[in-house]
């Protein structure tokens, strides 16, 4: 009988990928848990349904950025790239597939966290949460991962932090949460174009029945923005792996 399948398939690689980032994932989860759960409980308030969902949503963003921001630069700086790219692979499709794996890992973790939160909430008698991953958060979630991937081949250090800043600033501006738009002054068109354009308000308004018109503009904007960042990431990957020379001389230990 002939075998026609991968020996180390993607479903086996994703748990390894998660375990490699376990430390950073724990830090992100703990920080958000303290912010959304620990502090309210400390002051004697039971977290409400909204804050539970928001904590899961923010964790999802954190995981997506954490994984996607290391896709290219993590390999190049620490060195495994010379293992993969000596084989007959084309670098850009190879790293795009790695991005898809990172996205799958982040999605799986977020879904797992949502399930755990729901189960523990039910045991503790907290208000029941609705969706496992709020539907309105899916597009911003993917877009945030795309931002992180886009920055990954361009910033060898700090891509995750810059991506988080772009997503948080843009997201809060769009939802008019805690940050005043005026506080940023007038942004240049380039910065405006790069800034995360997606809040969750429009889609959640539709899902909550506040309006019957589906926000197609929002959907198109999310897709265009995500595709643009993937293209930026692909161009950067091509640049570092093909055009300018792949392995920096400082990486060998």
């Amino acid at each position: 009988m002939t075998h026609h399948r991968a020996l180390f398939p993607v479903w086996a690689r994703i748990p390894v990928l998660i375990s490699e980032r376990a430390g950073a994932l724990l830090v992100v989860t703990a920080a958000l848990g303290i912010t959304f759960w620990g502090i309210p409980l400390f002051v004697g308030r039971v977290p409400n349904k909204e804050s539970i969902e928001v904590s899961v949503l923010f964790s999802g963003f954190g995981y997506a950025i954490l994984f996607a921001s290391r896709v290219v630069c993590g390999d190049l700086v620490s060195g495994p790239s010379q293992l993969w790219l000596q084989k007959p692979v084309r670098p850009v499709p190879f790293y795009l597939r790695r991005f898809a794996e990172a996205l799958a890992a982040a999605t799986a973790l977020t879904a797992g966290l949502a399930l755990a939160v729901r189960a523990s909430g039910a045991l503790a008698g907290w208000p029941a949460t609705g969706l496992f991953i709020p539907l309105q958060s899916i597009f911003p979630f993917f877009a945030a991962a795309c931002v992180a991937f886009g920055l990954s081949p361009w910033l060898f250090r700090g891509a995750g932090l810059v991506a988080a800043a772009i997503v948080l600033t843009g997201g809060t501006m769009n939802d008019n949460l805690s940050v005043q738009v005026d506080a940023f002054g007038s942004m240049t068109p380039l910065v405006q174009a790069l800034m995360f354009p997606l809040g969750t308000g429009k889609l959640s308004g539709y899902l909550a029945g506040e309006t019957s018109v589906f926000p197609w503009g929002y959907l198109v904007q999310a897709i265009v923005y995500s595709v643009a960042w993937i293209a930026i990431g692909a161009a950067g990957t091509w640049r570092v792996t093909t055009k300018k020379g792949l392995i920096p001389p400082f990486q060998s230990n």
Binding site: T2, H3, H4, R5, A6, L7, F8, R13, V16, S19, E20, S78, G79, P80, Q82, L83, W84, L85, Q86, K87, P88, V89, R90, P91, T242, K243, K244, G245, L246, I247, P249, Q251, S252, N253
Partner: protein, 250 residues
């Protein structure tokens, strides 16, 4: 049996290769017009002092570095095109592994990337046999292996898919005598299947035993020392003398 494209030996040609690194304030030239040819079924060795540019030469040959001038071609293709199409077996001098990947994971992934699906199990089994690892060593994270075991693992990984061009950077570094002997046999096996082998080493004794042609890399330029050493070892002292600075002969 493993059947993969690009398993035949390849003609390698490096012509007037100049590579420099840019530091913050100035450009540091490493290769200043290196020239080299390598033929199928031969072991071509490159020797040179520390910092002479051997690893840089290999990285340029692999297409990992873009030269400032000159070119590297493999059987008529640019080395970058060739690598993306057929793959090049590369044993780097030092290698960092993904943090949690075991030797087994690494070899399986290498087989996935380099070998046609129907041949993968056979190629994987051959690679595992090539490492000589027991079950425990195969299962633990590769980064926790000893230096010698890491070298054996990366060599087994590099040879997955029987590449037509194999580049070995300091292959004897960190190996115990049995592993050295096994590596010598491996290099002879590569020659016998007409692969083109390039190796850089400070171990002149091994170079003398294995190499058909020896290039000396000095001041960023390669110089052919002996066109043929087939059948008899290159005298150790000749190579050593060639590496010494001018007027510093033993």
């Amino acid at each position: 049996m493993t059947t993969t494209v690009g398993t035949k030996g390849e003609e390698v040609s490096i012509c007037d290769l100049r590579v420099s690194y840019r530091t913050r304030f100035r450009r540091h030239a490493v290769l200043k017009g290196a020239e080299l040819t390598a033929h199928p079924g031969e072991v071509t060795a490159i020797v040179g002092a520390n910092g002479a540019g051997k690893t840089t030469l290999f990285r340029a040959l692999l297409g990992f570095l873009t030269p400032n001038h000159g070119y590297c071609s493999v059987s008529g293709l640019s080395s970058d095109q060739y690598r993306q199409k057929y793959g090049i077996g590369y044993l780097p001098e030092s290698c960092v592994f993904p943090r949690k990947w075991s030797a087994r994971d690494l070899l399986a992934r290498g087989a996935d990337l380099a070998v046609a699906p129907s041949d993968r199990p056979g190629a994987y089994a051959a690679a595992v046999a090539r490492t000589g690892f027991d079950r425990a060593t195969l299962s633990k994270p590769a980064r926790l292996c000893s230096k010698g075991n890491k070298r054996r693992l990366v060599l087994a990984y590099a040879l997955l898919g029987d590449p037509g061009l194999v580049v070995l950077d300091e292959p004897f570094s960190g190996l115990d005598p049995p592993s050295r002997s096994a590596l010598r046999k491996e290099i002879h096996a590569m020659k016998s299947r007409s692969a083109t082998v390039l190796l850089a080493s400070h171990n002149l004794d091994e170079v003398g035993r294995l190499a058909d042609r020896v290039f000396i890399l000095k001041a960023g330029r390669t110089r052919l020392v002996e066109a043929t050493t087939k059948g008899k070892p290159t005298p150790y002292l000749d190579l050593e003398a060639a590496l010494l600075p001018e007027g510093d002969a033993p």
